[in-house]
Subunit: 331 residues, 2 copies
DNA sequence: AGCGTCTGAGAAAACGATTACTCAGAACAC
DNA sequence: GTGTTCTGAGTAATCGTTTTCTCAGACGCT
């Protein structure tokens, strides 16, 4: 592949001049510049990124490490990040940690090695991995889930409040025994949603009962099994708050197989307003999280931190919105 | 951030020895190696990727450029690619071209600049962009959609046959006037699915009619409008073949709003077996494409080509599978 | 002992860009 | 006409690795 020296000798100038011309730095004689551009075009010259980054000690690349590429919530975040980054000339590379602390670590190491300008991640495990980044002074923004030390910029959703509101809505609709299916213990969103659920139970003056709560992976299969377990006890729940959109697939499958009619027999509210929510019967009531906005805000925060590493860390908390549809109504 | 020289001086050896020790090359005195490892650990040393890549003239990174991150078909491909790549120590960076030839070109340029080892892409526009890659001898594998010249490795699905089979199935179920909603002209999968549909129309001895065909973006909104258009004519179709899963969302919404009952009034088969297909009422009949496998095969092909650039180009065509559910049955 | 052969570590040359220096010549002021 | 400033291009240093040389010393063989 053509190098800058090839261009230089073809244009009959020094490499310095080529570099200056191509980057529009300083002033270069228009006639020389024209020769340079012609030569670059002719040779199909494309600057060697690694060499440039090595010299410049910076790369206009952001890493985005998300915990599930197949979850629309995270892909929407990705879009938000990308749109902001593109606008200022940064590229985004997307990595899928797949809820595995191990893969997360591997991608963090790649990000460090490649010396990307900054990292946005939805942390799976706590601290240990991100410490590698902060130890080396790499700008980081956490999304969706907080990091323990508040040295970091974070973009979160007030998911506890949202869960409370969703559960309260179910009680208000006349459901008596609202259950909750949430993610693994230690995953902050899962814990928060459970806490919000409990807040609502308390506010409704109901007796809180571990019997009505299940925790599983944030996946359909686990949620399906959990639903079967919940529903097959004596005095089963008559409504469910489900902590994400993958899970609700398992939940709806299970209810269908158990012959329970959603809405009439069992009220359901799930997190994330997926594109197909209106298509199921009855339409699914959801907690819509501002995923795209999380992405845009996170990208802006990261860019700000890259520009000024001494900025005080900020935490932005966005709020979610309950969308009432048929699945949470007995009518 | 610590450099190799820092490690070298702390360990009291030369940088060459540090490099050799850390990379396990050649033989290094165990005692020296131990000092090196200790120093590297102590300093939190992480080799500078750009510098390494510059020297080595290669990076263990693959670029995957897909046309829609929010489409589960493509994210499943991504998983396949990633699993294969990870296993052999390559990282994958995912880029979203968003069906825009412009973004595609930008990401291709980034891939070239960063000198990634190879590129897997689902081409949006034809030739022009990929020529940039091949001109520079960059290994490329096309997925989902072919590239015109057969100099390339490709992994495709026999989507024409699958479309034919799906449409034939609708006829077999007793639908008389099967319509088709497909993607933009020029997008190969869209054209092939339409061609397969026409094959089936011909085989069923029906008169083919442009009246029953609509083309729009591969998005829900366009498909919704197309459906309304199709259904509001005199003698509207009584079944629809829908070319992807985003579109079918719009189609189902439209049918619902028009008061048409899916299955009984209008049969529907759509491409891609999305996770929620069984949840809609009636369950959605689909053409399941082997997306994950497309990804794994593509990654293997790419790795093979990276290892040996003189390999003959191969085209792998996988087949799709029709899954019959309630939406294509009058019962 | 003397002479290859080997081993293993350091010195130094890449890799391909950017950029701090340097310096010739023009422009300008006196 | 001389000295000063300015302009713009080339020279060379630099980024942090890897890797080719180079070479000292150990080893083995006759």
């Amino acid at each position: 592949m053509a190098t800058i020296s090839d261009v230089a000798s073809m244009a009959g100038v020094s490499t310095a001049t080529v570099s200056r011309a191509l980057n529009g730095k300083s002033t270069v004689d228009p006639e020389l510049a024209a020769r340079v551009f012609a030569a670059a075009e002719e040779l199909g010259y494309s600057p060697n990124g690694p060499a440039r980054n090595l010299r410049r000690q910076e790369a206009a690349v952001l890493a985005l490490i998300i915990s599930d590429v197949e979850n629309p919530f995270f892909t929407a975040i990705a879009r938000g990040v990308e749109d902001v980054a593109q606008a200022v000339g940064y590229s985004v590379v997307l990595c899928n940690s797949d809820e595995s602390g191990d893969k997360e670590r591997r991608y963090i190491d790649v990000a460090i090695q490649e010396r990307v300008a900054g990292v946005i991640l939805s942390p799976t495990s706590t601290t240990t991995n991100t410490k590698r980044l902060t130890d080396r002074g790499m700008p980081v923004v956490a999304v969706d889930r907080p990091l323990p030390d508040d040295e970091h910029d974070m973009v979160l959703v007030d998911t506890r409040m949202a869960a409370k509101e969703a559960a309260a809505h179910l009680f208000a609709q006349g459901y008596e025994q609202v259950g909750c299916i949430t993610g693994p213990a230690g995953v902050r969103t899962a814990d928060d949603r459970l806490a919000g659920y409990r807040d609502a139970v308390r506010s409704a003056k109901k007796r809180s009962s571990a019997r009505l709560v299940r925790r599983t992976e944030y996946k359909a299969a686990g949620a399906k099994a959990a639903t079967v377990g919940l529903m097959s006890q004596d005095d089963p729940p008559d409504a469910l708050l489900v902590a994400n959109s993958s899970m609700v697939i398992g939940v709806l499958e299970a209810l269908d197989e158990l012959g329970k009619q959603v809405g009439r027999d069992v009220g359901v509210v799930a997190f994330d307003d997926v594109s197909w929510a209106k298509l199921v019967d009855p339409p699914l009531s959801v907690v819509a999280q501002p995923a795209y906005e999380i992405g845009t805000v996170a990208a802006q925060l990261l860019l700000a931190r890259i520009a000024d590493s001494d900025r005080a860390a900020t935490t932005t908390t966005l709020s979610a919105r309950l969308i009432e549809r048929g699945s949470s109504s007995r009518a």
